[in-house]
Assembly symmetry: C2
Homo-oligomer: 339 residues x 2
């Protein structure tokens, strides 16, 4: 049995109030008392019970981070940054995987009893529809949306300018002289905003560059996985004429795409240039190294935690949208022998 506040109080011959004061760093405690209490704590190896504290204060000190899959490098890197940022505000992070499961997302959003553990939630859905957000309404759980959706003013939102990011990627492909630019990553059922926005950026950039849009060059991908990128690219490689560049809506798709190009006996970027979005570590060591649009995940994490922390303290703060910076990173998969 772990020692309780009571045990310590008894041992030190003081009241629980005084012990609590010492433990929680209350200012006005006499030196003598503090010393006695500290000694008793030491002797009994006392550790405060965070659950009891939570029940009393109403704060768990826990943030929920909801992502589709923790094994997707973008999300594990985001998780790392969120964990680090949260620690600075005294919060710990629980990671929930939805596994692309709508019901799971809905449950979490609507606040089942598990959700009640969190002081606030950071929600980074791959595939959440706007309607889902309506369901969150009844809950009072502070919520920050990550990298998704158009801002509708109801929730804090740390976003990426997906249209601009996609445009930068495609503009880069056009600049290096590519004319038949394919795109991988639209969703089979066109409902989610990230792929929609990235697709919009794609067509817009083609327009700007004065390039023709080939509808057959737009390939869908259900998940943003290496496998999906591979399969989508195989479909592209069956076309004639072939594309001379592929814009993938994520780095993982691009990794799979490159592999498919090589397996077909073609070269990247010689025959087909490939670019992704995310800038995950894996891309830097790929062969060829992967050109991409770098998203500033430390920034996203920092802003998200800052927003959720203030919202927890002041629930009436008006919702805000923060746009995270992005920048093109040209590597070997678009520029051969790039330094």
């Amino acid at each position: 049995m772990p020692a309780t506040l009571r045990d310590v109080a008894e041992r030190a011959a003081v009241s629980v109030r005084t012990v609590s004061n010492v433990v929680s760093g209350y200012e006005h405690v006499s030196k003598r008392m503090r010393a006695k209490v500290l000694a008793a704590i030491e002797e009994l190896d006392y550790r405060a019970n965070p659950v009891a504290r939570t029940l009393r204060t109403g704060r768990t000190g826990l943030l929920g981070l909801v992502v589709p899959e923790i094994t997707v490098p973008y999300f594990s890197e985001l998780a790392r940054d969120v964990i680090d940022a949260a620690a600075e505000y005294g919060y710990r992070v629980m990671i929930d995987q939805t596994g692309h499961d709508h019901d799971r997302e809905r449950q979490l959003l609507m606040g089942d009893d598990r959700t009640m553990l969190f002081d606030g939630m950071l929600f980074s859905p791959l595939v959440t529809k706007a309607e889902l957000l309506d369901m969150h309404g009844s809950t009072k759980m502070p919520l920050v949306l990550l990298g998704e959706h158009e801002f509708d003013g109801r929730y804090d939102h740390v976003a990426i300018d997906n249209v601009a990011a996609a445009m930068d990627a495609v503009a880069h492909l056009a600049e290096i002289g590519r004319e038949r630019i394919a795109a991988i990553g639209s969703q089979p059922q066109e409902e989610y905003s990230t792929p929609l926005q990235r697709f919009a950026g794609y067509t817009k950039a083609l327009d700007t560059a004065g390039l023709v849009t080939h509808p057959e060059f737009a390939i869908t991908a259900e998940h943003y996985s290496r496998e999906a990128g591979y399969e989508a690219t195989r479909a592209l490689l069956a076309l004639s004429p072939l594309p001379d560049a592929i814009f993938c809506f994520s780095d993982l798709l691009a990794i799979g795409a490159m592999r498919a190009v090589f397996d077909a006996g073609l070269d990247v970027p010689g025959d087909i240039a490939v670019i992704g979005i995310d800038d995950v570590d894996e891309g830097r060591f790929a062969r060829p190294s992967l050109s991409t649009v770098s998203l500033d995940t430390p920034f996203i994490a920092r802003e998200a935690v800052r927003r959720i922390a203030t919202r927890i303290d002041e629930p009436e703060t008006p919702a805000e949208e923060v746009i995270a910076p992005h920048r093109l990173v040209a590597r070997e998969s678009t520029v051969a022998n790039h330094p």
Copy 2:
């Protein structure tokens, strides 16, 4: 303000006891009562407060998973499997990153007030020394060790046969005719058991194959990262004669190693074969695809959760060691044009 059990009881005109019975699925509740309670719950949008429940029952339903870095694919894949396995036992998982920080590992192990949230801990340290474990003694926190350390009988332990895994990898290199086999991944200060065991397997396999041991072919790596693999390989490439194969103690090291070989204008596996350990997704899509020793992380996760769950329920269960299976996976990085 969220509704409480009391509110529901009042609304349904029954006692809290009855409401609690309904909520916790107690058998003996009359149909009428149950219906009334359920209606009230619905109307008030009641959700049980897990914190209060926890304070009463002494169970948080939380497992702590301690890993060095969640962004290392092996650990994110392990985390995914642990989260899934834990869900089947009704547990949720909090991930703690130690970031290779000894103090952090010690704190977690000794049980600061944060640790007390967990019903049990799954500890997968990259770099924990045996002495650290002694410090855990005073805590009563159930603990399962993952993939590390020699079994000392004090703690449950889901391990890998590191010696055998390393031997399999090196034996494979010998079988394909390599004779100057280097190894990357010993720790600068030789204290941790995983690298020691893998190194032991390396030398043992060289012996078995009748190959000479070149001391300069054993390169240390502080972290098991792509960067460390790259740097270590650059050191190898400065030697003469060059090695004709590299055994890396992790897939990430191997990814970095392959890149370094290519940057030096050499070929994998033509000039130098490369093999890793872990079998992370990234390796399958690398170019060439990475030969490796596959560790059965779903098995590890399942066993670990099973052990911790029984230990939580029956603290006096004797500690057990489970060895997870591994198997060699030969891909293109050792066998060119492998199917």
